[in-house]
């Protein structure tokens, strides 16, 4: 392990992003030493350096209103940023090579995939072979889904978790991979981190369990190394047991919401 023991966390905000507060709250609850919420434009101006952090989070929201497709303009902002000093591409590749962590949630996940960071970071800033598009029913929907963790995927964030319930809140959550070779690679390398599942916890294509018609029922992807992870559902929205839609039907619940497990795994790894 090359990472320091600080868990210094950078959350990028602004430009239509909106989950910074609850994401920061989850980090603080899960062992972060320091959490900075930084406006994306300041980051793109080069005012904040990635190397001062161990954990980078791309949060949910509507980057530039998701016009031109979710997160598309933000991806361009990163690709064509005119900052002085070290390029963003370089900063990110050093960050990843140092086995530090990147998490993308919802809009942040769409961003990571479209920038090429997921599921194979070597493509970042250059090519893109996976994408996310409109839900098959063309509706934005807020609903809780059952998630099954792919036991063969080796990312850091879902360690020790086999099943998880989280809310999805998106209109463009359908993962699309059309290149057969790339499909094969994702499957062979087990880069799908979580599947949409039915009430029994079995992977399913059936709506609304799979809320968007995603390829292979994928809800989350990771890179091969396992330090980059992105998902459509919102773990930060399940930060307390009373977030669960059925909490009033359950007895003797621990205070934590299960979404915190994702964050705790991150800080356990970083500590």
């Amino acid at each position: 392990m090359t990472v320091g023991s600080k868990g210094r966390t950078l959350i990028l905000s602004g430009l239509g992003l909106n989950c910074e507060k609850e994401t920061a709250y989850c980090c603080e609850k899960s062992g972060a030493k320091k959490v900075d919420i930084v406006h994306t434009l300041l980051f793109l101006n080069g005012q904040v350096k990635l190397k001062e952090y161990d954990f980078l989070i791309f949060i949910g929201g509507f980057l530039d209103g998701d016009y031109l497709g979710s997160a598309k303009v933000a991806v361009n902002r990163f690709k064509f940023a005119r900052l002085e000093g070290e390029s963003l591409k370089r900063q990110l590749s050093d960050f990843i090579a140092a086995e530090k962590l990147i998490l993308g949630i919802c809009n942040g996940f769409q961003f990571m995939v479209k920038l090429g960071l997921l599921p194979d970071e070597s493509m970042a800033f250059q090519s893109q072979k996976a994408s996310l598009t409109q839900n098959h029913n063309a509706l934005f929907e807020d609903r809780w889904v059952q998630l099954k963790v792919n036991p063969k995927n080796s990312n850091i964030f879902t360690k020790g978790i086999s099943q998880l319930e989280l809310p999805v809140r998106h209109g463009e959550g359908k993962i699309v991979v059309t290149d057969p070779d790339f499909q094969k690679r994702i499957l062979n390398d087990e880069l799908i981190a979580m599947y949409y599942a039915d009430e029994k916890g079995e992977q399913t294509a059936e709506y609304p369990h799979n809320p968007n018609g995603s390829w292979e029922n994928a809800a989350a992807l990771s890179n091969k190394r396992g330090n980059l992870f992105g998902l459509m559902p919102h773990p930060e929205a399940y930060n307390h047991y009373t977030n669960h839609p059925q909490w009033t039907r359950r007895e003797n619940q621990g205070e934590d919401g299960d979404g915190l497990l994702i964050f705790k795994n991150a800080y356990r790894y970083l500590s």
């Binding site: 239509g16 507060k21 509507f62 063309a138 059309t178």
Partner: protein
């Protein structure tokens, strides 16, 4: 910087340019949900002949900086194309090689806020020199390739009705045959038509008639007595002399007249609520009311505050953009609900969208600024299945519904604010104007720099700074237009589209500016535009100067008066000390938000405007704000006859229940609710949908607004315009009781519930147009009396409110007026959210009780409306009993005896039972004989009566004794228990009244709105 040039176009520098075009289409083989959705809409509207629709995204461009087709192609590839999803053409048409019958392309008309085009231009700017935005025009377009044998007239009609709103959008329709000749049309970028001559005009104020003529021509909504006041004011020889000396016209300038009209509008000044009313009650007794607002609404709060004494938790009421209450020592909560009815009638999408983003500015701009935590929305529409012809200018209620839904989806979701609660009401009276209520809650630190966070103060010498979007001709005359009925001549300029992303960026900046203490006062730019925002802040210092030439414009060609009163969205006004202005503007630039100094606050007692260095308006502050004459109005109440004439006893009560469950007001709204983000911000505790399958209705939304704390806020709404058909006093009482009951139902306490009143009325002023004005005003008097009686009685202070008094439409000679409507919104502080309860039955074997008495109160009930019956008694709230019961419920919930709690409202006991059963997916087995006998009612009346202050609750059998002892002084009725049978079985004296499968009832409840 891209944002600096928001929609700014500099015609002169563009010269002769090539019209360019990028087309983006989904790759063959990929699903096209947008196209499929359009196809579904066509089919649902009877266009069965359409067989396929494929969607396309296009961008029309002009810029000297785009050098060639190749350059454009590479820009498109780099910036617009998703290589996995899209194919792209630069300067070509996919239509050239496609099989289709019709191509339809939709764009926003010039001057309308167009977010897709703005973002596309910013996106191109990423690979262009810094001045690109100023030297480029970009128009985003949505295209559809349509296959099907349909003629030009039908496709034109369908496009106008189903795919766009012709008021603000333009559609190009081209057939395959004409394609080669007509496709060039798809390249044009129309420009906004600004005025060529910019000038300040003198207005003829020589007589009342001339002012009234101006009022009609300019949508000023002035009354004769207001015109008289204005005439006299400008006729004063001393004043004329002074004005002449200052270089002002002796008569009013157009700027002054417009500023007066906006400030004096019903929308801004609430003239009817402040009028002197001569009221005759049902006994012919006559009395004088000096101001409904002061003598009843405001007084209710003052009286409660007096009673609370030291424990008063109202921090700021009726003065700021929103009311503020204490949450705990560290935080305060602001709450505001606004209506956006008139704009929503013209464009449901834009009207609702601007409703949400507008009320968010209110809640954000309260005190020194507050963070948004929740939205709540309530809509009133015409019946979704309405099948009679409608006047040309009106949309079908279904279309209104969909437009409003989408507007709130974009407004709420894109603002990152959860929509935690809402309600939809249907009635034919809302065909003319829908009601769109948008509410917003925010949280602020209790202290800001050692001062209460709800306080603010602009100082003389502070600069007036406009932050956010630019000014255009959109949103001219919103305040005055909404102060009139909707008619053929309603101004199209009142329609606007909002931009929640620009607004979010502005909020991010202002929050940072607040934390750095860079401004002294803040308010929203809403109705009346700069005229109102600067004008109202100027009351702190007693004066202001506005330089209209400094205000940033979307495009050239705005008259100075338009700059002053435009309600263009996404703008706030702040006052900034000259010492801090540099820092403020630098931070603004850094965060890509436009801020402009537009004036200065003074203590001259004058509201002054300058244009090109010349004084063009100078009005005394006290005349502007307090000069308008008080209205004198007549009201006369006629008490309704409440005939108790029951219908025939239905032979199949189960079928009756099913038909009531399927009524639009009662049926499942899941599809609508799911399209709103109801849990962003991470503090969701009770969502709008609850139960095993998360599809049963919750009574109130509950959130943890501060994630570190277990304290919560419960938010609910009470609304029942149908009872206005009988008596508005009880309509208002029922709305108040419903809102409070819902808060109690989830675990709130009468200790701290605050209310908001939103009155939406048909014009209640006696005139030729409104011969029944006296009665309608008496209805308002009655409703206000109920608000006073019940708010004081329950100890629920009103902290903010709003009224919209002209909800009539006169189109094609037909007048449609709404039923008088009070929306009562409530927010309750929850001490510990972990003790909250939901409406779903929890386990088989639990005991089900009805809490509260049932009376023969079926007037305007869902049951009677289903039968088309118009008589009966309206439900009446027994304040003493209700209050005692709510206190008992609070303790019972805190003691954790109550496992489920659902309020009985529309549809009565039977509907409440069914909904709780849906939530738990549990059967029920009930014997109602004892309860029925106590009520003395017939079975159907008992099951469907809408008597107020009642709950359906369930408890575990082990708690029976404690629970019953607790309620020994209040009527509760054990009805039976839950079971696993899957049946909904109600007996009376062991005779089956209803025996239906839960699933069948559920299907009936679900089918109406899908």
């Amino acid at each position: 910087m891209a944002g600096d040039d928001h929609e700014k176009q500099q015609e002169t520098s563009l010269g002769e340019l090539i019209n360019r075009r990028i087309e983006i289409i989904l790759k063959e083989g990929l699903d096209d949900p947008e196209g499929q959705k359009a196809l579904r809409i066509f089919h649902q509207s009877g266009f069965a002949e359409i067989s396929e629709i494929r969607s396309l995204q296009a961008y029309r461009l002009q810029s000297p900086l785009i050098e060639s087709k190749e350059h454009l192609h590479s820009l498109a590839q780099d910036l617009f194309v998703d290589p996995v999803l899209n194919d792209c053409l630069a300067e070509g048409f996919f239509g050239d090689d496609r099989d289709f019958d019709w191509y339809v392309e939709i764009t926003y008309k010039p001057g309308v806020t167009d977010n897709a085009s703005r973002v596309a231009r910013e996106n191109l700017g990423l690979l262009m020199p810094d001045d690109f935005s100023a030297r480029a025009r970009v128009l985003a377009a949505r295209g559809f390739f349509i296959k099907g044998a349909i003629d030009l007239q039908s496709i034109t009609e369908a496009t106008g009705k189903l795919l766009m709103n012709p008021l603000i959008q333009k559609g190009e329709i081209i057939s395959k045959d004409r394609w080669p000749d007509e496709r060039e049309r798809l390249l044009s970028i129309p420009t906004p038509s600004g005025d060529e001559r910019i000038e300040v005009k003198e207005m003829d104020c020589s007589g009342v008639d001339s002012i009234m003529k101006l009022s009609r021509e300019r949508t000023l909504a002035l009354s004769v007595s207001e015109a008289q006041t204005i005439h006299q004011w400008f006729a004063d020889p001393q004043r004329r002399k002074r004005r002449k000396e200052k270089g002002l016209p002796e008569n009013a300038s157009d700027i002054e007249l417009e500023a007066l009209a906006q400030t004096w509008s019903e929308h801004c000044k609430h003239k009817i609520f402040n009028a002197e009313i001569h009221y005759i009650d049902e006994n012919g007794k006559s009395s004088k009311i000096t101001s409904l607002y002061k003598s009843l609404i405001q007084k209710a709060t003052r009286d409660i505050q007096k009673t609370l004494g030291d424990r008063d938790w109202c921090l700021s009421v009726f003065k700021d953009n929103a009311g503020v209450i204490r949450f705990n020592e560290d935080y305060s909560v602001a709450f505001k609900v606004e209506t956006h009815n008139s704009p929503s009638a013209l464009d449901p999408y834009g009207g609702a969208l601007t409703g949400i983003v507008g009320v968010n500015r209110d809640a954000f701009g309260t005190g020194m600024g507050a963070e948004l935590v929740a939205n709540t929305d309530v809509f009133c529409f015409g019946p979704p299945d309405y099948d009679q012809p409608l006047p040309e200018r009106l949309f079908h209620p279904k279309r209104v519904f969909e437009g409003v839904r989408l507007g709130v989806e974009h407004g709420g979701n894109h603002s990152g604010v959860p929509t935690i609660n809402g309600s939809v009401v249907f009635d034919e009276c809302f065909l003319g104007k829908p009601l769109v209520f948008c509410g917003s809650l925010s949280v602020m630190p209790a202290q800001h720099r050692g001062q209460p966070g709800e306080d603010k103060l602009a100082n003389p010498g502070d600069l007036a700074v406009m932050v956010g979007g630019r000014i255009g001709k959109d949103g001219i005359h919103g305040a005055t237009f909404s102060s009139e009925e909707l008619g053929e001549s309603s101004p199209v300029s009142a329609v606007q589209i909002g931009d929640p992303i620009t607004q979010k960026k502005m909020f991010d900046f202002l929050w940072e500016a607040k934390n750095q203490n860079l401004y002294s006062c803040i308010t929203d730019n809403g109705a009346g535009g700069l005229s109102s925002s600067v004008g109202e802040m100027a009351e702190f210092t007693n004066g202001c100067k506005i330089d209209l030439g400094q205000a940033p414009l979307k495009y050239e060609g705005l008259q100075p008066w338009e700059i002053l009163i435009s309600e263009a969205q996404e703008r706030m006004t702040v006052s900034v000390s000259p010492l801090k202005i540099a820092e403020f503007l630098a931070l603004s630039r850094l965060m890509d938000v436009e801020s402009t100094v537009v004036g200065e606050f003074t203590d001259t007692g004058l509201f002054e405007c300058f244009f090109n260095g010349k004084l063009v308006a100078s009005l005394e502050m006290d005349f502007l704000h307090d000069g308008l004459p008080r209205m004198r109005l007549e009201a006369e109440w006629k008490a309704p006859a409440e005939e108790l004439d029951p219908p025939e006893l239905p032979s199949k009560m189960g079928e009756t229940l099913k038909s009531i469950l399927g009524r639009p007001d009662i049926c499942s709204k899941e599809k609508l609710i799911r399209q709103y983000d109801h849990e962003v911000k991470g503090g969701s505790v009770i969502k709008p949908l609850v139960g095993v399958k998360r599809d049963a209705p919750a009574d109130a939304g509950v959130i943890r607004p501060v994630l570190d704390l277990m304290m919560g806020l419960a938010v609910s709404n009470g609304i029942c315009p149908k009872y206005s058909q009988i008596d508005c006093y009880h309509m208002a009482a029922c709305a108040i009781d419903e809102a409070i009951r819902n808060i109690i139902s989830v675990g709130g306490s009468l200790d701290q519930i605050a209310g908001l009143d939103n009155f939406c009325w048909p014009d209640p002023v006696l005139s030729d147009k409104t011969p029944d004005g006296k009665y309608k005003l008496a209805q308002l008097v009655r409703a206000c009396e109920a608000v006073y009686d019940y708010c004081v009685g329950f100890g629920v202070p009103l902290i903010s409110g709003k009224d919209s008094m002209k909800n009539d439409s006169v189109l094609e000679g037909k007048k449609i007026s709404i039923l008088p409507t009070l929306l009562f919104s409530a927010v309750g502080v929850i001490k510990d959210v972990r003790n909250c309860v939901t409406s779903d039955f929890k386990a088989a074997g639990d005991l089900i009780y009805l809490v509260g008495e049932t009376f023969d109160e079926l007037g305007a009930s869902e049951y009677y409306r289903q039968l088309g019956k118009s008589n009966g008694a309206v439900p009446k709230v027994n304040l003493t009993k209700a209050k005692a019961r709510y206190r008992l419920m609070e303790t019972a919930i805190q003691n954790k005896w109550i496992r489920s709690c659902h309020d009985c409202s529309d549809g009565g006991l039977a509907v409440a039972l069914a909904e709780s059963a849906f939530g738990g997916r549990l059967g029920v087995r009930l014997e109602i004989k004892p309860a029925l006998d106590t009520s003395g009612l017939r079975e159907d009346l008992f099951l469907f009566s809408e008597s107020q202050s009642r709950f359906v609750i369930s408890i575990a059998p082990k708690d029976r004794e404690a629970f019953e002892r607790h309620f020994k002084d209040d009527p509760i009725f054990l009805l039976g228990e839950t079971d696993d049978s899957g049946q909904f079985k109600i007996q009376s004296g062991q005779i089956d009244l209803i025996d239906e499968k839960i699933q069948d009832l559920f299907d009936a409840w679900r089918s109406t709105l899908g």
